[in-house]
């Protein structure tokens, strides 16, 4: 039995782990306040703002949308990273195409249960690994990981992958989200260790 060094990372794992992060095989639960309860029968999602075609959809309509799988690594600002996670959901491009963004749309604000928000520039949202995600590692999201739906933006710290998402608002100018208002970094690139704004 090894008491020390038994869980050394391989070179491959080290290469995929951003600076200041440690690897975990678990999925720590981090959020503020309480976990919201959800009734799928009344659940709805809204897309609005700088779009030609604002629209809303129900849970049943979401489940009928095109789906995509993403195999990726995730990185939390609290310094844990988890490699090789399988997510499934609706590719964000389906939402963007249906909404028909106006040329003035440059930013997006994700609106979630309990008033939580997270903001992103449009070019970060419109990436091929970004999902409206309802499944992780082959199972529906658990309530504390965002059931029924969360945004998935793997190239940014995980607070941008907003849990319990209920809408996307497209904006011409950036509007800070919850954590960004109070001192988290607006860009949140884990490879640049963009954790806090000061």
């Amino acid at each position: 039995m090894k008491l020390f060094g038994g869980n050394r990372s391989t070179d491959e794992q080290k290469r995929r782990t951003p600076p200041g992060q440690y690897l975990t095989e678990k999925w720590p639960v981090l959020h503020y306040g309480s976990v919201p309860s959800t009734d799928l029968a009344s659940w709805g999602f809204r897309v609005w703002g700088e779009v030609e075609q604002p629209f809303s959809f129900s849970w049943a309509e979401l489940k009928a949308m095109p789906r995509k799988s993403v195999h990726t690594d995730i990185h939390c600002v609290t310094r844990w990273s988890r490699l090789d996670v399988d997510f499934e959901g609706v590719p964000i491009q389906h939402i963007l195409e249906r909404a028909r963004l106006k040329p003035s749309a440059h930013f997006v604000l994700a609106h979630c249960e309990q008033g939580y928000t997270a903001n992103l520039p449009l070019e970060r949202l419109d990436d091929d690994d970004v999902l409206l995600c309802d499944t992780a590692d082959g199972a529906p999201l658990t309530p504390d990981h965002g059931y029924p739906l969360r945004l998935l933006v793997p190239k940014r710290y995980l607070w941008k992958s907003a849990k319990w998402i209920r809408g996307l608002q497209f904006l011409s100018q950036d509007q800070l989200g919850f954590w960004e208002r109070y001192g988290y970094n607006n860009d949140a690139d884990p490879w640049k260790e963009e954790r806090f704004s000061e």
Binding site: H31, Y32, G33, S34, Q114, W179, G183, Y184
Partner: protein
């Protein structure tokens, strides 16, 4: 420019004391939030859009539904929001 006078100064001092006192951030947040709301109600301090939003965010961050534990980020959210309230208190 923020509110002037002894009531405003006293309210700011008490709120800052609650923000910076030793103890759990969530408890400090509850106490500071209540004192700030009282200062608004009494007219000692004026509402600002930022402080109204911060109070609303704080209420959600420390809300604890029956039978649930507070989320692990509640304390951190409290600290960040209280620091922002402290910074903008002079404008109230």
């Amino acid at each position: 420019m923020g509110s002037q006078g002894p009531a405003a100064s006293a309210a700011r001092a008490e709120i800052r004391e609650l923000i910076n006192r030793k103890g759990h951030a969530v408890e400090n947040a509850r106490a500071a939030g209540e004192r700030l709301e009282l200062a608004f109600d009494e007219g000692a301090l004026r509402h600002t859009p930022f402080l109204d939003q911060a109070l609303g965010d704080l209420a959600v961050a420390i809300e604890q539904d029956e039978g649930q534990r507070l989320g692990g980020k509640s304390a951190e959210a409290s600290r960040f929001i209280l620091r922002a309230i402290d910074h903008s208190l002079d404008e109230a």
